[in-house]
């Protein structure tokens, strides 16, 4: 599922280049330019895809690993070593 999510994101980036609506001034529902509606839909699809990503592609265990590493390591410095 993780690869499906990343695949959808790649598809969204490709779909973003909508040369097919480049010269189309059609008003959908009588007021919405089709090019604008298309890209607004991309925004909604992006939100849906990122929702899936937080479920299926979120790095598993990163918080637990980080907390475990903190417990094992000395106090952080936040400064360069040079």
């Amino acid at each position: 599922m993780r690869y499906v999510v990343w695949g959808i994101i790649v598809l969204l980036i490709i779909a973003h280049q909508d040369i097919w609506y480049w010269d189309d001034p059609t008003l959908v529902f009588g007021f919405m330019p089709i090019g604008l509606l298309y890209h607004a839909t991309i925004s909604v699809l992006a939100a849906s895809t990122w929702f899936l990503a937080t479920i299926f592609a979120w790095p598993q265990g990163i918080e637990e690993d980080t907390m475990a590493a903190i417990a094992d390591e000395p106090a952080p410095s936040g400064e360069a070593s040079e």
Binding site: I13, P25, F31, L36, S43, E63, E79
Partner: protein, 663 residues
């Protein structure tokens, strides 16, 4: 005046919010700068969205849609919905882990450690702060413009030269001071609360603005259909043939006028009384203020039709066009003088002439029969300058706009949030909601901007609501002012200012944190200053940067959108550095220096080449300049890294999983 009172009350409310947050301030510099990492998912979303969207979203998007059409949404809004969240995923989560493990609070602390270089901070600090300045500038300029446009006529005898409204410089100054005060009182916690509050205010009032404006324009259908009829180019990304033909006709008429004016003014031609009488017989009707222009136009048509302008040389005609369009005639004339397009010649100071021309008709906007200075200048431009050529969007520019949202990977305020968030999971809401929030704000703004191109005055359907050559930065405020009553105007303006301030506050605090952490404490030593002294030093630095930004905002105006794109392009050109620092073990200190220098160098060169943002449609090699910057910084980083000594095993073990660092 009612609008001004509502705006003032709103600003007081913000100050109160900052003061309330200060009661929860724990007195330490850590709490002041980072709110002790206590910001939850909702505040984080509001803060991130409010800061990222800024004046760019409301003022910039509507203005740019007015100038360029609906394509602006695809160029930056839908692309940001994909790319911003991608950066959160690829960069943000990893950085959160590093920040948590090693205690980083700024990006320079991280890079110093990852690149094993103390001096990388000396190189990066001025560049990052220097790129934040245009980000602040966007808000400061937009705030002044909006307040000035909205408050026209608020005073009976003050600020006559600003149409009896608040001068733009004063509006900008007040907004800077208000944001400074609530940031100083409330620190990160107050800023996050103010940000969340203001983001909600501008989103709700944005929807209200859209609803009111669309109703005043006769409904969404009527407003859009008018655009389809008058400027269909604005509804797509290529030029409509009919609109192109209409433009060419208008341009020919304008050329005749330019040639005739020049011939008369230079003494080359003078119509006889009989010729003038014949010419004026076919003069177009119009209001009294338009009469001198219409007379000249009728005379020009007569002169052209009777061959009286045939003796002008191509150079004389070109000079005539430049003078008519208030552009500087070069001396000496270049070889390609005749063939060069008009836009390549800079404008001269035309405002005094416009004001002088209409001086008897300029007065208080509430006075019968008087026009404002802004209206006078608008009418002067409309009557005198060349018609605006419709233009589409270059597909390569559209494609390469995709690189610009990569800037979020290097925004200092976002970087700080990533490094210091309570948990990685607190970003989930932001990742999902960000594209939706962008759509909620941008779609109405883009529609309003496009409608502005074709809307007519409610009381006179023959007169365009927004005159030609209108400053795109002022479109939204102008529409609000023209189409709503004073009470609603006040509230809607508060919403616009909320968007502007919700960006300024985080930036102010962020540069303060960077200065104290990366310069003062790093070089001065952590034990040298008390917590209170650190907070004071941060505030002094913030005031200094705000003063510089305010000073810059008083220079020549640029389009908010254009400035934003240049600012974001600069940050985006540094994205390869942060990406490589996380995913490429072979990145070296020297490679990082090469990357930053190449990014900064190409940014400076291309920005200069674009007339310092003066050319809003500037492309380099047919693509957005950000493409060249990223290509240069990436190439420099890879080549120099491969040619220099790899990082130590200790550093690799610190930032990469054992299996990865083993190779």
């Amino acid at each position: 005046m009612i609008s001004l009172i509502i705006i003032s009350v709103y600003l007081m409310l913000l100050l109160g919010l900052g003061a309330f947050a200060s009661r929860l301030f724990r007195g330490t510099s850590q709490d002041y700068m980072l709110a002790s990492h206590s910001i939850g998912p909702f505040l984080l979303l509001m803060s991130l969205f409010g800061t990222t969207m800024t004046a760019f979203a409301l003022v910039g998007s509507s203005g740019e849609a007015y100038a360029e059409g609906i394509g602006v949404y695809g160029m930056l809004a839908s692309s940001s919905g994909i790319i911003h969240s991608l950066c959160f995923f690829l960069v943000g989560i990893k950085l959160w882990s590093f920040g948590k493990r090693y205690g980083y609070t700024t990006q320079i602390q991280y890079f110093r450690d990852r690149l094993e270089s103390d001096k990388i901070g000396i190189l990066m600090f001025p560049i990052l702060v220097g790129l934040v300045v245009p980000y602040l500038l966007i808000g400061v300029i937009a705030a002044g413009t909006v307040i000035s446009n909205i408050t026209e006529g608020a005073f009976s005898d003050m600020f006559a030269q600003y149409d009896y409204g608040v001068p733009p410089w004063l509006g900008s100054l007040v907004i800077c001071i208000v944001v400074l005060i609530y940031v100083f009182f409330g620190g990160m916690r107050g800023t996050a609360w103010a940000n969340a509050f203001q983001t909600m205010v501008f989103m709700v009032l944005g929807v209200v603005t859209f609803s009111v404006i669309s109703t005043e324009l006769g409904g969404v259908h009527a407003a859009s259909e008018r655009v389809l009829e008058k400027h269909p180019t604005k509804l797509m990304r290529t030029v409509d043939k009919g609109e192109e033909e209409a433009y060419e006709q208008q341009f020919q008429i304008w050329e005749r006028l330019a040639w005739y004016n020049w011939a008369v003014d230079s003494g080359e031609l003078e119509l006889t009384p009989e010729q003038r009488e014949t010419a004026l017989a076919s003069m177009r009707p119009g209001p009294p203020w338009q009469r001198p222009f219409n007379q000249r136009r009728a005379e020009a048509d007569f002169a052209f039709e009777h061959g009286l302008l045939d003796s002008l040389t191509p150079e004389q005609k070109k000079t005539a066009e430049l003078e008519q369009d208030d552009r500087i005639v070069p001396d000496p004339l270049p070889e390609d003088y005749v063939s060069r397009p008009l836009e390549s010649f800079p404008k001269q100071a035309w405002e005094p002439e416009a004001i002088d021309f209409f001086k008897d008709q300029i007065g208080h906007p509430h006075e019968e029969g008087k026009m404002t200075r802004k209206q006078a200048m608008g009418r002067y431009r409309a009557m005198r300058w060349a018609p605006e050529e419709p233009h589409g969007i270059n597909p390569w520019a559209f494609l390469t706009y995709l690189f610009i949202p990569l800037s979020v990977g290097m925004f200092p305020h976002l970087f700080q949030h990533w490094l210091t968030a309570r948990s990685a999971s607190s970003f989930k809401l932001s990742v999902v909601a960000h594209p939706l929030f962008i759509a909620i704000v941008w779609v109405p703004c883009v529609l309003i901007g496009v409608w502005a191109t074709s809307a007519m005055m409610p009381d006179n359907p023959k007169v365009p609501l927004v005159p030609p050559h209108f400053n795109p930065n002022g479109v939204l405020a102008y529409m609000v002012n023209q189409l709503t009553n004073e009470v609603l105007t006040g509230f809607l303006t508060a919403g616009i200012l909320a968007a502007i301030m919700s960006s300024l506050d985080s930036q102010f605090l962020c540069i303060g944190t960077m200065f104290t952490e990366d310069v003062v404490l790093h070089y001065g030593g952590k034990k040298r200053f008390t917590d209170q002294q650190v907070v004071v030093i941060a505030r002094v630095f913030i005031v200094l940067i705000v003063a510089i930004t305010f000073g810059l905002s008083q220079l020549e105006m640029r389009r908010v959108f254009t400035l934003g794109v240049w600012c974001f392009s600069g940050f985006a050109s540094l994205f390869p550095l942060v990406f490589a620092s996380i995913y490429w073990r072979r990145l070296t200190k020297a490679g990082a220096y090469a990357c930053v220098i190449a990014a900064f160098g190409t940014w400076c060169l291309l920005f200069r080449d674009s007339n310092f943002g003066g050319n809003p449609n500037y492309l380099f090699l047919g693509v957005m300049p950000v493409t060249t910057m990223i290509a240069a910084s990436t190439a420099a980083m890879i080549l120099v890294s491969l040619a220099t000594r790899p990082p130590s095993d200790e550093t690799l073990a610190k930032f990469f999983a054992p299996a990865e660092s083993a190779g």
